[in-house]
Symmetry: C2
Subunit: 143 residues, 2 copies
C-alpha cells in the first residue's frame, strides 16, 4: 500500500477542498471528516501539517475552516506526499557498501525516481477530474 493513512486522509481532504475551490472553497475539519468517514481529531493534524507546509490556509472562529492556498492545478501530489510523509531520513548509508549493496541502492533509486515522476505528474485538478469521471461512469449503471 503505497500511501499511509496520513497521506491518504490528507489527499482526500484536499480533493474535497479542490472541488470547492471555484466557489470560495472553505470547509471545516468536521465537515470533511464526516463526509469521508475518518476521525476528525486525527484529520485535524494532517490539515495542520498542510497549513505549515504552505498548501492550506486556515480561518478561525465560527464559519471558519480550511482553504487551498493555490488553485488545484498548481498543487502536485508529490508536494502533498512530501509534506505529510516528511523527509524519509536515510539510514546510515556508507557502512555496508559492498558492490552488491551499491547495485541494490541504484535499483532502489530507480524505483523512487519512477514513483516521484508519477506523483509529480499528478495535480489536484487531475484528481478531481478523475473523481468526476468516475462518478459519471458509475451513474451509467443506473440507466
Amino acid at each position: 500500500m503505497p500511501f499511509s493513512a496520513k497521506t491518504e486522509y490528507g489527499l482526500v481532504a484536499l480533493i474535497e477542498l479542490a472541488g470547492q475551490f471555484q466557489s470560495g472553497g472553505v470547509m471545516q475539519v468536521g465537515e470533511i471528516a464526516s463526509r469521508q468517514g475518518i476521525p476528525d481529531r486525527y484529520l485535524e493534524q494532517m490539515l495542520t501539517s498542510l497549513r505549515r507546509g504552505g498548501i492550506l490556509r486556515s480561518i478561525r472562529g465560527p464559519k471558519g475552516g480550511y482553504q487551498l492556498m493555490r488553485p488545484p492545478a498548481e498543487i502536485l501530489v508529490s508536494e502533498v506526499v512530501q509534506v505529510l510523509e516528511g523527509e524519509p531520513q536515510l539510514r546510515d548509508g556508507g557502512t555496508r557498501e559492498t558492490p552488491e549493496f551499491q547495485v541494490l541502492h541504484a535499483l532502489a533509486g530507480d524505483l523512487q525516481t519512477a514513483r516521484l515522476a508519477l506523483l509529480e505528474a499528478t495535480s489536484l485538478e487531475q484528481l478531481i477530474e478523475r473523481r468526476d469521471a468516475l462518478l459519471q461512469a458509475q451513474a451509467m449503471y443506473f440507466i
Copy 2:
C-alpha cells in the same frame, strides 16, 4: 527507502550466489554474512524464506550451504521481493469507499504497477552484470 533490510539482505545474498552459479555455486550463511557485513543469524531467516519460496535449495552438514534452484536469468527481483515481503495483506477495503478514496486507490494501484514493472524487468543475472560493470568502472579510478 523502497527495500526493507530483509529484502536487501536477501537480494544481496542471492547476488553472491548468482555470481557463483556457474561453478557449482554453494555458499554458507556465515560466508555470505561476513562478506556483506550483516548478522548471520538474521540472514539465515531470509535464506530459509527463500528456500521455502522455491528460490534456493539447501544442503546440510559439513560442506553444506545454499544454492540457487534456477539459473540467475530465471530469477526475477519481483519474485524475490514477493517471497521476502510476503502478501501485502490489504487493509479493510470496502469501508471508506467515497469517490475520493477510490481515485486515490487507483493512483496507488498505478504506483504499484510501475514498481512491479521495474522489478519484473530485472533478473539476478542483470544485477550481477551491473555489479561487475560497477567494479569495472571503479577500477578505472586506480589507473
